[in-house]
Amino acid sequence: MMRIVSTFYAALIYGFVFLPVAVLILFSFQGSLFPIPPFNGPSLRWYGAVLTDARLTSGLGNSILVASLSSFTATLLGFLAAWGFARFTLPASGALRALITLPLMVSYLIIGMGLLIVFTSLGVSKSLFAAGIGHVVINMPLCFAIIYSQMGDHQANIERAARDLGASEFKVLGLITAPMLWPALFAGFFLSMTFSWDEFVIAFLLTRFQTTLPIEIWNLLHAGLNPKTNAVGSLVFGISIFFAIVFEIFALRKKPS
């Protein structure tokens, strides 16, 4: 009896979480004009419509560009910051570390507004570049936290050995530290990709003519619900899941001792 109740409860919870996505995906395969029951698919006509829509495909391209470049930058800066905190004695190290991870707690709206004001006063126009910087701001603390947690004293000794054998500081970083930490670097990169990929608020505030996919979807929704929005939503979801799985592979894989 207990078992039936708990199974039922679990089904409810998972249904609550995943039913909207499941409905979205189901009706993206709708054959008729309206994303409402009865379902009369499956059909790929709306996916075809998405891929021939110039605004959506350019949004897709822009999103991939912004996500990969901003994630790369966030990972690089996070790595350097983690290395600095882990390997050097800095004044007020604890407070500075807390400060660098603080953007994780601040709402994207606040960060986006702040950047908008700064960019406006600096004369930086709204663009994909500006949105990319915004994504670096939100993802760098995350990359820092992931990479910093993987830097231990054992690696410090390995770096010392490299230095002892004649490696310059630059070579130690490039040939020893970064390769040793590659699971953390990849995890940081792919988690950043996930967040940048479907980030809306900052991109909305900081882009104008060329924009990212979430903004294009939002524009599409102005015209009302249609199965095309479901198809593009399913694509976004699929790609997010891909990034999330890659992240899990690197973050959770067992390290050889």
Binding site: I158, R160, A161, D164, G166, S168, S257
Partner: protein
Amino acid sequence: MTALLSIEHITHNFGKARVLGDVSLQIASGSYTILLGPSGSGKTTLLSILGGFLQPDQGRVLINGIDCTSMPPAKRPTATVFQDYALFPHLSIGNNVGFGLRMKGVAKSERDGKARAMLSLVGLGEAFDKKPHQLSGGQRQRVALARALVVEPAVLLLDEPLGALDLKLRRQMQDELKAIQQRVGTAFVHVTHDQEEAMALGDHVVVMNQGRIEDEGAPERVYAKPATRFSATFMGESTIIAAEAIGKSQVQTAFGKFKIPGAPDAGKVQLAIRPEHITLGGKVSATVSDVVYQGSFKRIVAVPAVMPELQLLCKIPAETEISIGEKISLNIAPDKLVLLKEE
């Protein structure tokens, strides 16, 4: 003779704690030097200063007559074997060993050749393409040794290199280390707290305690004629006997008068004697308070009747029947008593 490595008046503090106090030491080329001491004696700090990982507060380090005190590790003619081996986990064994040559700009084919030669010298010729995690502790140790030796350092520094190995492997690696050192002829400076390791490996033993050098010299000399009380009890065991100098190189103890060359004319002195120089059958009557069977001998603690606060350590033949509480008589070899330096 100019020493290969010369340490001049090195003093170093960690915060307010003095870890090295005015340490001076000369190391000859081709020698195997052991820095022996308990934890906190400053031996590892001294090694870090030699390797360039630490700048001493005062004093100088000269290698081949060149002042290296503030030279970074990369520029020094030293190479270090770390206690945890510190192999590069993402590189193959061959690339680990070839790393130092790569940093010197040696071409790939040449450094691979040298790495292979060095790996076969340490008995790991077949491990070239493996990764560090595929090797056992003893094998990783050898890779660390090969990696440091392949750059042909003037001095090889070893930080408790056998500390992580089990006893049997440790004794085996000891013999190999000594053989490798004799083959390559490089000066080794080896830090350990294991006095057996020190005696087995070193031709120059430096006994350290509380940031100072207590004694140094050939292991035979340090063992037979320890300079200080610390040296007498840390490198092997000793019984310390209090005595009174009475002039004419003679001292008075509870066990009678002894002639000790170099004894002062008056004042309190301390004598040390090794357990193997106190034997059964003599004039000193004592009571056995402890017996430990050690396989090849029995180590006993005996309390002499004339001086009940003293514990005499003796080694007696393993087959001797003896039990706690038994009354025995002992002989203290007079010529084996060592006069210790004032502390």
